[in-house]
């Protein structure tokens, strides 16, 4: 089946099987390998991207479901003038160690702030419940998101 969609402002198209997961289409066929796979039960959130403005676990969507969608992946966050403020906040707060959960975490965090621009720490922890990290213990991730929101931590 034919799929055409927009990712990070560019139109892509490809041929997929009906069962091809969106995350595999993005990674294997389109070469956008920034989005990672950390589980097989939609539990970990490493595959989080934005689809039509919503944060979505791309392992839990079929490529064919994303026809015509406007997608942002981690590769689309930084601009010509540098890192996105959320990426910058993660770096300054040491919110990443191995970096494997990071693309999904950053995408989930930016989506969280777009819906709730000034969350409490508790709301940040709840909002990131679907994104697992094994390295940081979450302390500095929460700090990063609070800093990016302009809230004290």
């Amino acid at each position: 089946m034919e799929v055409e969609l927009t990712i990070n402002g560019r139109v892509y198209s490809g041929e997929v099987e009906p069962r091809t997961l969106l995350v595999h289409f993005i990674r294997d066929q389109l070469g956008l390998t920034g989005t990672n796979i950390g589980c097989d039960t939609s539990s970990c959130g490493a595959c989080t991207i934005h689809v039509d403005g919503e944060s979505v676990k791309s392992c839990t969507m079929l490529a064919v479901q994303a026809r015509g969608a406007d997608i942002t992946t981690i590769e689309g966050l930084a601009g010509d003038d540098g890192l996105h403020p959320m990426q910058q906040a993660f770096m300054e707060s040491h919110g990443l160690q191995c970096g494997y959960c990071t693309p999904g975490m950053v995408m989930a965090a930016t989506s969280l702030l777009s819906e709730n621009p000034n969350p409490t720490e508790s709301e940040v922890r709840e909002g990131l419940e679907g994104n697992l990290c094994r390295c940081t213990g979450y302390h500095n991730i929460v700090k990063a998101v609070m800093a990016a929101s302009g809230g004290a931590s």
């Binding site: 390998t33 981690i74 040491h94 191995c98 720490e121 213990g137």
Partner: protein, 789 residues
């Protein structure tokens, strides 16, 4: 301006934050074949037949090989290595990459499929039909000890080894005979699934006409993998290149030599095409070793004042179906630490290793040491109750050196602790956690009869890291050494390249090593590049595990810098016709003492070393030096952790509401990175205490291999952490540094369970098994109340 000791932001971050970094599954190679495994669904069975005919006809399938066929292909010359045969008579059943006649654990490889795409490979696995003749499975340590069935049908018993450490048996006997107080406690260190966020993966790229092979692997141990691949397969070691790309976490899970690595390398070589495999999360419970898996018994003897007289420990350790790389030695790594931070005159430890028909066990964050600190710290709380002392007081009374600062102190287990200073660590933890306030709040809730109880748990730990003095490893029958290698070179244009044998997977080595080199050589950290994790760029090393990279690897780098400065000094001196002793080196510049205008930068010296136009006689061109540092001793970080839990008596739910960690890892290179290691370590230990366990049924099936019910905590399960540090430099190396990668985990499980028992102490609850699930807590309360709900 110094770099060491500052919270320098990490050089690693931009690539990781933007998705530019390449993990194993990101690397695509033309012509690659996807490998998928047919894995045993039985824990113990004879393989009566493997029918691959249908699978071979599936679309995109290149080949299907059974274990028998793989054996006939003569791909390897030896079984997978066990590098730590802890005793001369240790039983070590051969472990080949695929089973031929008998399978010994669910998940053992029976056949492999090679196909053009990952989906086609997965489809073909479903098409393979295996005919099993079931054998009785040994599905627990107790079943292994009872020995009614054996995990390997050719064995008479499941016992793999017996390992004693009893420096003075008579003294131990006497200590218990005369003691005013003795306690005994039994604990279960449940099996854990390490779960780094990145599953494992391999990609083998052969050179059919060149004869060499490159193996990419999401591994912590590229150097060890290289030598072991050669030894196992017969491939020439000089034709093998191992590359660890960006690695998404390890925690010990990626410290092994795995069947998939041997299969990918040998099949790629044989077929002349790249072969790759990526682990799925649910597969990892079977395809990667598990952690812990021990039953512990600890006895303490104390005098009337609660002063420890003796400590006696026995462990029954679950090896799983096979000995993997260092599995048999993991319980022994902790053996030296069961007396913890305490002055205990008499000590004895024995460990029996057993085979079961479960996933093999091996290293997982802390590897033997969290088990040790758990046992002694839980036992101290139990002893406190027995003696009638407060948990703080009983600890203070027993600290080594009375809690005062010490260096090079020999303890009962025969180790020499490099340095310690336990009193202030405890004081700071109590102050920072507001211990008095917590106790007051706890009492207020009890007096008010509230159903949500507060529990406060202490853990004062010491750990042994910076593996390791090679001679000590020899004495323990460990097959490799414990040195680490570093090369430091200045390039003609003045930039610095550091080649390290350490292999980071999240620890920020590129940043930390840049800080060390910047201060030593007087260069900008941005001008330092760290080369690692590729055996072609970094040919010598013993890799990263056991919190060794800084205290062995970082020290090697510092020492190599000193050699570089020595040589550069000679070149600079020659330039000014001065003697090297008259040259002062400050902030990257050599100047003749007393004549500051006669100066040259180290970068200029580097260029001079490259052109070699005017070098002193006898000095070789280039400015590069190397060091292999073999540490004279381990390093012994220590600390005090305070966990605060809320236990809901009606539901049994335990909430971790606060955590204070005071850690001492000696001198710190980058406090930002140190804190991050502590945070992550705390959560993994707390996760063992409250949520994680690999559940097995009586048939040896793991019933929770996926993240749906293997409960790795999310941000909602854990609080913010209060971290503080004391600094007691190590005597084991010139930088005075220790390690910190595992310390958080070594402190936290005991602190959390001590807190849970503390919350329930009103009911006379003295122990609760990990994980302290709501069901377990609820039942414990009910049983303590005499059966009433």
């Amino acid at each position: 301006m110094t770099a060491v000791g500052t919270r320098m932001l990490r050089k690693e971050d931009p690539k990781l934050l933007t998705g530019e970094a390449k993990f194993i599954d990101d690397i695509q190679v033309p012509g690659q074949l996807w490998m998928a495994m047919v894995r045993s669904t039985m824990a113990h069975a004879r393989i009566a037949g493997v029918d691959t005919a249908e699978a071979e006809s599936f679309p995109g399938v290149h080949a299907v090989y059974t274990g028998a066929q793989l054996q006939d292909m003569d791909l390897w010359i030896d079984a997978l290595p066990c590098a730590w045969p802890v005793t001369d008579d240790m039983v070590n059943p051969p472990h080949f990459p695929a089973a031929v006649t008998e399978v010994h654990h669910v998940g053992e490889i029976i056949a492999v499929v090679l196909a053009e795409s990952r989906y086609q490979a997965a489809d073909a696995v479903e098409g393979v039909v295996v005919d099993y003749e079931p054998l009785e499975a040994v599905a627990s340590i107790d079943a292994a000890i009872a020995g009614e069935a054996t995990a390997h049908s050719e064995h008479d018993s499941n016992k793999a080894y017996h390992w004693p450490l009893i420096p003075d048996p008579d003294a131990l006997e006497a200590a218990f005979a005369d003691a005013a107080h003795t306690i005994a406690a039994e604990f279960v260190q449940q099996r854990l699934i390490p779960t780094p966020m990145e599953p494992r993966g391999v990609l083998a790229v052969p050179s059919p006409h060149g004869g060499d092979i490159t193996l990419y692997s999401s591994t912590q141990v590229p150097h060890i993998l290289k030598v072991m691949l050669a030894a196992t397969t017969g491939l020439a070691e000089s034709k093998i290149r191992i590359i660890a790309p960006a690695v998404g976490g390890g925690f010990g899970a990626k410290l092994n030599i795995n069947p998939d690595e041997i299969l990918a390398a040998t099949l790629a070589n044989r077929l002349g095409r790249p072969v790759r495999w990526t682990e799925s999360r649910s597969e990892a419970a079977f395809s990667t070793h598990q952690g812990r898996g021990q039953q512990q018994r600890i006895e303490l003897a104390a005098d009337a004042d609660g002063k420890l007289l003796g400590c006696r420990v026995h462990i029954d350790a679950d090896m799983g179906a096979y000995m993997m790389l260092i599995g048999p030695g993991v319980p022994l790594l902790g053996s030296f630490l069961y007396t913890g931070v305490y002055d205990v005159p008499a000590f004895g430890f024995t460990c029996d290793g057993y085979f079961t028909n479960l996933t093999p066990t091996d290293a997982y964050r802390g590897a033997g040491r969290p088990e040790a600190s758990y046992a002694i710290e839980r036992a101290m709380d139990i002893l406190a109750g027995e003696v009638g002392l407060d948990p703080v007081e009983i600890r203070r009374r027993n600290y080594l050196a009375g809690g005062e600062e010490f260096q090079d102190l020999t303890v009962a287990s025969t180790l020499v602790f490099d340095s310690g200073h336990y009193g202030p660590s405890l004081d700071l933890a109590l102050e920072m956690s507001d211990y008095e306030g917590l106790r007051a709040e706890q009492q207020r809730r009890r007096d008010a009869g509230e159903s949500i109880q507060l529990g406060i748990g202490l853990c004062t730990y010491v750990e042994m890291c910076g593996l390791a003095p090679s001679r000590v490893l020899a004495g323990l029958n460990y097959a490799a050494g414990g040195w680490e290698h570093a090369t430091v070179r200045l390039l003609p244009t003045g930039k610095v390249e550091v080649v390290s044998g350490a292999t980071p997977h999240g620890q920020g080595h590129e940043t930390s090593w840049s800080q060390i080199v910047a201060d030593k050589l007087g260069v900008d950290p941005a001008d330092v590049t760290v080369l690692h994790s590729d055996t072609a760029m970094s040919p010598l090393g013993l890799d990263t595990y056991g919190s060794r990279s800084l205290s062995v690897g970082g020290v090697a780098i510092a020492m190599a810098c000193d050699k570089v400065i020595d040589k550069a000094r000679q070149i600079a001196a020659h330039q000014f016709e001065a003697s090297p002793e008259d040259m002062e080196f400050t902030a990257g510049t050599f100047a003749v003492a007393g004549s500051p205008d006669k100066s040259v930068t180290i970068q200029e010296v580097a260029f001079g070393a490259f052109t070699a136009h005017d070098l002193p006689d006898g000095l070789e061109p280039n400015l590069q030096e190397q060091v292999s540092f073999d540490p004279p001793n381990f390093a012994f970080p220590f600390g005090t952790h305070v966990a605060v839990v809320e236990v809901d008596e009606t539901t049994g739910n335990v909430e971790l509401v606060g955590y204070t960690a005071i850690d001492d890892c000696g001198n710190q290179i980058n406090p930002l990175i140190v804190e991050g290691q502590v945070h992550g370590g705390i959560v993994q230990g707390a996760a063992q205490a409250l949520w994680e366990v690999a559940n097995y049924d009586d048939d040896g099936n793991c019933t929770n291999p996926s993240l749906l019910d293997y409960l790795v905590p999310s941000a909602m399960e854990v609080p913010n952490f209060k971290t503080g540090f004391t600094t007691t430099p190590s005597t084991s190396n010139p930088l005075g540094v220790k390690g910190v990668g595992e310390a958080g985990t070594i402190g936290s499980a005991a602190a959390v369970i001590n807190a849970v028992c503390d919350a329930l102490s009103g009911y006379g609850v003295r122990d609760i098994q990990m994980p302290a699930t709501p069901q377990r807590v609820w039942r414990t309360i009910r049983d303590a109340k005499g059966g009433a709900a």
